[in-house]
């Protein structure tokens, strides 16, 4: 199991239930394959630094959130496939920060990037 972080920008002005559904579904993809979701962190609705075009629309704001999880590398392909197609998601990236959470924590703690 490797420690990953999914950084996702989803559409603004989603109904709360819809956003929760998105997050839940994403977590379930990981958990159904035997992964462990460590942390779900909302980073807030932000003005994007440049205009994005996704799902045949232009977007200038986005809701950023973070999911940290331990999973098998094979899960990532599945995750990417689903997120690419989901109309609520503007950008997503699964990033491998280290093989273990503990390796990553030390740096993040200092800048308040609470892991």
């Amino acid at each position: 199991m490797v420690f990953y972080e999914l950084f996702c920008i989803s559409r603004t002005r989603l109904v709360e239930a819809n956003l929760k559904d998105l997050v839940k579904q994403t977590s379930l993809i990981v958990m159904n394959k035997g992964g462990v979701v460590r942390n779900l962190k909302p980073l807030g609705e932000k003005q994007l630094p440049y205009r994005i075009r996704k799902h045949q629309e232009y977007h200038v704001q986005g809701y950023q959130w973070l999911m940290q999880f331990d999973a098998n590398p094979t899960v990532i392909g599945e995750l990417n496939k689903r997120l690419k197609v989901d109309p609520r998601v503007l950008r997503h990236a699964v990033i491998r920060l280290g093989s273990k959470l503990e390796d990553v924590v030390a740096s993040a703690e200092k800048t308040g990037t609470r892991v």
Binding site: L40, L97, S107, K110
Partner: protein, 175 residues
């Protein structure tokens, strides 16, 4: 021109500025079960923000946003007898009968190494990364940032990642 990097506080004094963070905080607070979107305690947030601000100040002061032109210029500046505001001189510096000696500039200090920050983990941290880009959004050279080769590579990677993920702008410095 590389003044701000060279004249910075020594590594020792920087270490004393870094707040000691207890080992207990991060690891023990993790749950294996996904947490819902709950806001942190106000106190905790304030403290971590305070830490973050002081660290960012340290970094901001270390960046030199202009590169110097020629090497000859640098040698002239480092020569004995060439005085600048704030310099401390001794009587022998006023003695023109002795030949000018060129002092080698002190090694630039890698801020991220001292603060033990990993730029790759901080790809989400637009405020931190903004210190390493010019007002037009371009990456600064190693001369300007004063980072070690390894950290410069990592910062570059972090910035490019942040640009791709719509965290920082490729054409401006917004934070």
């Amino acid at each position: 021109m590389l003044a701000s990097v060279y004249r910075n506080t020594a590594a020792k004094s920087l270490k004393s500025l870094v707040p000691k963070i207890g080992a207990t905080s991060a690891v023990s607070s993790h749950n294996l079960v996904a947490r819902r979107f709950k806001s942190d305690d106000a106190g905790e947030q304030e403290e971590s923000r305070h830490h973050a601000d002081s660290l960012l100040n340290i970094i901001a002061n270390s960046i030199n946003s202009q590169t110097s032109g020629s090497v000859a210029n640098e040698q002239f500046r480092m020569a004995r007898g060439n005085f600048h505001r704030g310099d401390i001189y001794k009587p022998s510096d006023l003695n023109d009968s002795k030949p000018t000696t060129y002092a080698s500039p002190p090694k630039p200090v890698d801020q991220l190494k001292i603060l033990k920050l990993n730029p790759i983990v901080e790809y989400k941290n637009a405020t931190l990364l903004s210190h390493y880009i010019t007002p037009l959004g371009r990456l600064m050279s190693r001369e300007q940032t004063g980072l070690s080769a390894k950290n410069q590579r990592r910062v570059t990677k972090a910035v490019r990642r942040a640009r791709a993920m719509c965290i920082i702008s490729p054409t401006a410095k917004l934070h």
